[in-house]
Symmetry: C2
Subunit: 138 residues, 2 copies
Amino acid sequence: MQRQESQILKDFELRTTTSRSDILKLFIKRPFALSYSDIEKEVAAAYDRVTVYRTLKTFLDKGVIHKVLDDEGGLKYALCKELCTSHDHHHEHVHFKCDSCGQTSCLDDATIPAISLPPGFKPREVNLLIQGKCNKCK
Amino acid sequence: MQRQESQILKDFELRTTTSRSDILKLFIKRPFALSYSDIEKEVAAAYDRVTVYRTLKTFLDKGVIHKVLDDEGGLKYALCKELCTSHDHHHEHVHFKCDSCGQTSCLDDATIPAISLPPGFKPREVNLLIQGKCNKCK
DNA sequence: GTAACTGCAAAATATTTGCATCCTT
DNA sequence: AAGGATGCAAATATTTTGCAGTTAC
């Protein structure tokens, strides 16, 4: 069963406002990473640019969404999985960006094998971005 | 022996200009990834912003440097290894960003183990960003 | 000499901040 | 009621484009 927007907001101790609900709905509706401008385009009629910026920042701070690296340098964002709460976070992200359709999706199943680092290096977080052809565009 | 700037430019069939040489020197001098503004700061007195943008773009296009993902979303750049030429490119990048000193370095030795992708996905390029403490800051 | 490169000005984009007003709790 | 959230205006920051003058080959 899919979590409802309002429930998510409550879980993260955020006030329920229409802009937050609407932006959250976007993330639920689209199962891949969204950039700021993707979001802006969808809600521009309803909300101010600044509100979108601030909403995303709040979501990031609270851990509702996480950053997704993009090869172009622009950040994208995606919903954290059910498992993530403010206290318990996943720090391994595997994302796949399709060269054809341009969509970036989270590969929840793929785990990152241990990388042997040079002596003295201590990993805290790992981000893996794979680019290529996705299963729909091959 | 270290490659000279002018030799690198020749190798990539680029005209030798002072701005290109100077920016290339920066990359040689500093063995970690530089952001646009890192570079701008160093050469602002000598060259126009636009020249820096265009020089980086040219270097990227020709394969002299490659993009380095950054957790903040901003792009960084680093020299490609000796092995890379316009024709023969490495498509696996492992980078380590230190939480303390903020420096991002290429881990040339580390290779990325094969990731098992869902059926239908074909990888072309892989970028791995590890964040944590580097060997100097532990 | 000629195509490529650079600098300057300006346009186009992107992001942030201050403040008054409105809304959720 | 009170603090948080929003919208608007405007300040900043970032990146791109056009064009005329300069330079490497």
